[in-house]
Amino acid sequence: MEFFFQILINGLSIGFLYALAALGFVMIFKSSSVLNFAHGELMAIGAFVFLVLSTWAKLPIWLAFIITLAGSFSLGFIIERFFLRPLIGEALIEVIMLTVGLAIMLKGLMLFIFGGDIHSYVDFLPQTLTFHWGAIEIPGVYVATFIVGLIFLGLFGFFFKYSSQGIYMRSVADNQPAAMALGVHVRRVFAMSWAIAALVCAMSGIVLGIINGINVHEVSAVGLKVFPVVILGGLDSIGGAILGGLIIGVLETFTGGYISSGLREVIPYIVLIIILMIKPYGLFGLVEIERV
């Protein structure tokens, strides 16, 4: 039973991480309907910038964190401005291909600079965060992940609900021509959603780096796992992304714990295929009905 709970807790923490990663993905998809294949690479960039600042340059952790988030935010702007904006109005297939190209370019760049080894951060989390409950132990990183994740989910909830920028973003997601007619600057909203998504990516990259150590290959593999998560939850649903992330995370650790560790990496994709067979728009996705 202890084993069961330990696995459940590990699964929920990993799932929470997937949910955070999927959040940025859904944000881009909702506002500009771009499938971002460079998601894992954006996560890795955030994680590596934080590595350089916190561990190599030995800046204080809070400063490193803020600089990383600000840097990722501007990176999102730059990517949108230079790579995505020339393609506004082009076929969706070209935009998707562009993000694929972006993914391998960034991955190559990072492999070139940091190599394929596992790097790890200095240990900065206080030991008191570790949570004991009977014989079950929740490591401090998971508690920290949970806290940071909740804070950010709350912040984004407020941002989307009350700030004017967030309301613009929701309006563009809902109906682009109507938003444009009401005077929303759609291009700025696209740029904004990429910037925020890159920021969220950087954050989930850092958290992943704290838990597992950072390795380019591994982080980009996690980036691809957002696809099962968002397909399960529904491509355009933020709540679905969170629930989907938790389900996929738990499923993964249970498969790893009870069946085999090889299957663990594949089970999300098997779920993906099954979901596409029986409920293609996911748990909470908007069902698009097109009639001719």
């Binding site: 291909m97 391998i104 190559g108 596409l276 293609p280």
Partner: protein, 356 residues
Amino acid sequence: MRKLQFHPCGNFNETYEQELTIFETDYGRLSMLIGLILLFAVVPFISSAYILYIINIIGIYAIAAIGLNLLIGYTGQISLGHGAFFGVGAYSAAIFATKASFPFIIAVPLAGVITAIVGMFFGLPSARLKHLYLCIATLASQFILEYVFVQWEGLTGGAAGISIPSGSLFGIDLGSDRNFYYVIFFCFAVMTWMAVNLIRTRYGRAFIAIRDNDQAAEGMGIPIFQYKLLSFAISSFYAGFAGALFAYYMISITPEPFNLWLSIEYIAMIIIGGLGSIPGSVFGTVFIITLSEILSNITEFLMNISPSISGAITIAPLREFIYGLAIILFIIFEPKGLAEVWRIVRSSFRLWPFSY
């Protein structure tokens, strides 16, 4: 004999036959004939063993790239699992050759058919939906198939892979590069011919209609689901066929080459070559394989002049960076790829000195 026709200044199609024609001018037909003669009678005899090996690899990859272009470029459905389907072809050919000891001439097409069936299975859920779902489903199929290659040890030999006896065709041993060259390029010519003609049939035109506007296509009475699935099956058949040739050429196969990276390499080939262009797929394959060989030669050269930097510079990341950059630059500046560049260069020569 009638006079050779050259390109007119513009499109003057008066009949449907004119629009459907493959070679717009006799000059094109003539140059294809010369190209074929060069390919079969000159190239294998003048090139060194290393060059011949690269040309063979280009031929094999070009077959698979044409298949992917039929899917992405003509039907507008994105596949990120082409590398895995290539692997399915390689493994089925290897299994047919070792376990069932089928001859070469049966094992290769059969491997293509098996791959088409596997492809259709993965295409099944997603062909009902719009194209981004196929893209995600094929990404999943890539990971699932990779897992199967490694884990189904009874059939695939696990991580150790399978060794294949070198094939023979009509009593001729295909162990040597030059003999295999003829097989590859005969298959290449036939597959290209089939692809070019497929586009002219009602099926090909239906694919293009689906790419351009699926709702309008359905309105015109094209059953979209069947045609998407058909396109996916054809594309997988090409991948499997090429994979089978690859298995026979490489003699032994392991799961490593058939990863997501290979799928992305195929996508890079057709984007750089030109989406929706059969010659473009070939151009792109030549470009990518040559680029990768040049880069690995440069790395080798650098290693030779100073061993100290050999640890710092590794070939793979540099290659990934350049492929990614090439994909992005081509999409932004020349979405139609090298095929379009080639057309522009040709027409600027043709129209010189008055380029209008």
